[in-house]
C-alpha cells in the first residue's frame, strides 16, 4: 500500500532532501556573479539566480506552511525583469533614462 506514510511526512522529507541541492546551485550562481568579467555576465547570473530563488521560495512556503511567502516570489520575478530591461537600456544608450 502507498499510504503507509502520510502525505505530510512524504512532502516534508522530499523538500528536506531538495534544499541542499538548491543551496549548492545558488552557490555556483553567486560565484559566477562575483567573478563575471563583464556587467552582462553579472546580470545574467543574477537573472538565473533570482528566477530560481522565486521557485525556491514557493517550495519553502510549502515546507513552512506559510502562504505569506507566495507574494514575495511574484515580486522577485517582476523585479529581475525590470533589472534586465534597465541594464539593456544602459548598455545601448549609456544613460539610465527617467
Amino acid at each position: 500500500m502507498v499510504s503507509e506514510m502520510s502525505i505530510e511526512a512524504h512532502v516534508t522529507t522530499f523538500i528536506l532532501y531538495a534544499i541542499p541541492v538548491y543551496i549548492l546551485a545558488f552557490t555556483l550562481y553567486i560565484i559566477r556573479a562575483l567573478k563575471g568579467p563583464s556587467i552582462s555576465d553579472i546580470v545574467l547570473a543574477i537573472d538565473a539566480l533570482t528566477y530560481d530563488l522565486a521557485a525556491f521560495l514557493v517550495i519553502l512556503s510549502i515546507l513552512f506552511r506559510s502562504p505569506i511567502l507566495i507574494p514575495t516570489a511574484i515580486v522577485l520575478a517582476l523585479w529581475v525583469y525590470a533589472l534586465d530591461i534597465y541594464v539593456a537600456k544602459y548598455l545601448e544608450a549609456k544613460d539610465m533614462g527617467e
Binding site: 505530510e8 546551485a25 538565473a48 511574484i74 525583469y81
Partner: protein, 126 residues
Amino acid sequence: MVLDWVLVILGEILIAIGIFCDLVASIGMLRFPNFYVRLHACTVGTIGGAFVPLIGAALVAAGSEFLGTYRWFMAGGAVVTAILILILAPAGSHALARATHRAKVTPVYPKIADHLEEDEKLLEEG
C-alpha cells in the same frame, strides 16, 4: 485521497526534474567560456529550473490537505509566478543579449556566422 497522492507524486517528479536542471544550469554557468554561450545555461536555469518546479509546487500544494484552506492560494500563486517567468525570462535575456552585442561589451569569440554584425555593416555603408 488517491487523487491527492497522484497530485503530490506528479508534483514531486516535476520538482525533481527542476532541481536537476537547476544544478546542470549552475555548473554550465560556471564552466562555459563566454557570455553568449552562458545564455544557453541561463535558459536551462530559468525554464527548466524555475518554470517546471513552480508547476510541480502548485500540484504539491493542491494535493496537500495539511496546508489548510490556504493551499489553493499557494497553488494559484505558484501558477501565476510560473506563467510570469515563462513570458518574462526569454524577453529579458533577449534584450540583454541584443544590448550586449550592440554595445560590443564582449567579443563574439566562437563565431560561425553573425548576421547582426553584417546588417550593421550594411547600414553603415548606407
